[in-house]
């Protein structure tokens, strides 16, 4: 037996010299996390086990160190216009406290990254935009933005990633427990909104956003405050069953929520429309890089599309497995797949030829054995709506 998979690095390596550490690195190691190199950082893949951490998030709440994700700050007049030009999503009409999901595309419409853009206001009424980008794309996006910034001389971009930490608190109990932790009560936040508050007079950006399908918050704090904030949240949630969770559970949670992961459902060879993310594109009455390419996809129709699949049987389909029609014609491949801890069955997302989007059944070639798979609407899992 050897453990291997598409993206599983060796577990518990001594941190490679070229691996960055998040401000919570010592805490993870102390807690017995399995650490793996990921996107240039040494990151916890799991503590006690992926399934237990996944269930904690679905039933109570889980804490994720997501400090590896890039945090880019934009200041100055016309920062909104600059970002509006760079993103598929309209930024110019955002009001302070709004957060939006969008993509950065190249001129051909290929996705360079998927991002969250926030428009924030400090207590002293300074306003700025914050862009959260994928860890693996931070350098690429910085390089991509630089020449375009030259056209916006009043806009400054600063990379805040290593000066700050980012902690996701996700799950049905997250808001209730975090209510008492900040000067402003986060339950006042609507989904996809954010404010700047403080904990013990230290600033915290709190957003009602996440990547698990659960209700929850994402907190951005100064690097030196990270461990204190992390421990405060864990302590406040101890009775409710809060647990730290690693990248393993983060992946199974986002997969159940039908959310794309850059490098899997998204890359430079795919456009947002094909990836099923048209909601993150505002094509009307504005211009941005890639707009004509995206409009052409809308006008001419997609040639490929993203679907959800439920393989029959117990054997999970994994990324890279070929997807076939019921007649055995290869029409695409699995972009993410694995067992769903919540549903107890294997789930998979795949990109396939659009003309087969409505087929009633498919086959997946799982390492040489074909398995029937039934199409299903995304997301695989939707959180129960709380009775209020």
């Amino acid at each position: 037996m050897t453990t291997s998979s598409t993206n599983d690095p060796v577990e518990n390596p001594s941190t490679p010299a070229d691996c960055l550490q998040t401000p919570l690195d010592a805490w993870h190691r102390e807690a017995g996390a399995k650490m793996v190199p990921f996107a240039g950082y040494s990151m916890p893949i799991q503590y006690e086990g992926i399934v237990a951490e996944h269930q904690a998030c679905r039933n109570s709440a889980a804490l994720f160190d997501v400090s590896h994700m890039g945090r880019l700050r934009f200041d100055g007049d016309h920062a909104a216009e600059f970002l509006d030009h760079m993103l598929t999503r309209r930024v110019t009409d955002m009001v302070p406290g709004q957060v939006r999901y969008g993509m950065v595309c190249n001129a051909e419409g290929g996705v360079l990254d998927d991002v969250l853009v926030s428009f924030l206001q400090t207590p002293s009424e300074r306003r700025f935009h914050l862009l959260v980008v994928n860890a693996s794309n931070r350098e690429k996006i910085l390089k991509w933005f630089e020449p375009h910034l030259a056209d916006f001389p009043t806009v400054t971009m600063s990379d805040r990633t290593e000066l700050t930490a980012m902690i996701a608190v996700q799950g049905p109990m997250a808001i209730e427990v975090c209510k008492k932790l900040f000067t402003i009560d986060p339950s006042r936040l609507k989904n996809y909104s954010a404010f700047i508050t403080d904990q013990f007079a230290k600033p915290v950006i709190v957003s009602r956003t996440g990547y698990t399908g659960e209700d929850g918050l994402e907190l951005i704090v100064r690097a030196e405050e990270a461990q204190r904030v992390w421990e405060n949240v864990l302590l406040a949630g101890r009775e409710a069953g809060f647990k730290p969770a690693g990248l393993g559970a983060r992946d199974t949670l986002r997969m159940e929520a039908g959310m794309p992961l850059y490098g899997h459902e998204l890359d430079e060879t795919i456009d947002p429309i094909t990836a099923g993310l048209k909601f993150g594109c505002n094509l009307k009455d504005r211009h941005f890089i890639g707009d004509q390419a995206l409009q052409a996809v809308v006008d001419q129709g997609r040639t490929r599309c993203r679907i959800g699949l439920l393989p029959t049987g117990k054997r999970p389909a994994r990324e890279g497995c070929a997807v076939l029609t019921a007649d055995g014609e290869t029409i695409g491949k699995v972009t993410s797949g694995g067992p769903s801890p919540t549903l107890g069955v294997p789930i998979a997302m795949a990109t396939i030829d659009a003309k087969h989007a409505k087929d009633a059944s498919f086959q997946i070639d799982i390492r040489g054995k074909t398995t029937e798979a039934l199409p299903t609407k995304l997301p695989f899992y939707k959180r129960p709506v709380a009775a209020s």
């Binding site: 453990t3 893949i45 393993g248 117990k314 054997r315 999970p316 694995g338």
Partner: protein, 132 residues
């Protein structure tokens, strides 16, 4: 009678081997170690070989899958598969507490001596402590 892990032989790839003589023939019962089960964590799937299949030393005979990863299973011995533990794939959780008894995967009628590369318990423990 419970199997004693300290009396078994181990492959570098974490399979354990228990050899018994029955009626003049030698049989090996094979499973994966408690250490391997713990490392894999959250097992979800196991693929077993057919009874009657001839295995070479080091040949892949199946796979075990956790939430995160697929791991091939390699035969530590050469011979014919005479039994497989067909209840195991539906009860993988039991492996966590019982890797050496309930956790047997297959039984092979040996066609050759055990390879010299198999470790005794002490050597295997040393390998695990270095890996951990």
């Amino acid at each position: 009678m419970a199997r004693d892990p300290s009396t078994l032989r181990y492959a570098e790839t974490h399979e354990w081997v228990d050899v018994q003589e029955e009626g003049g023939d030698k049989f090996a019962t094979i499973g994966i170690s408690a250490f391997a089960v713990e490392q894999l964590n959250d097992l979800v799937y196991m693929d077993l070989p057919e009874v009657g299949r001839e295995l070479e030393i080091g040949e892949e005979f199946g796979e075990v899958e956790s939430v995160k990863a697929v791991s091939p299973l390699y035969s530590p011995v050469a011979g014919e598969v005479v039994a497989v533990h067909s209840d195991l794939p539906d009860n993988l959780d039991n492996l966590n507490d019982d890797a050496f008894d309930f956790g047997w995967i297959l039984k092979v009628k040996l066609s050759a001596d055990l390879p010299d590369s198999l470790m005794d318990f002490a050597a295997y423990q040393k390998q695990c402590s270095e890996a951990g």
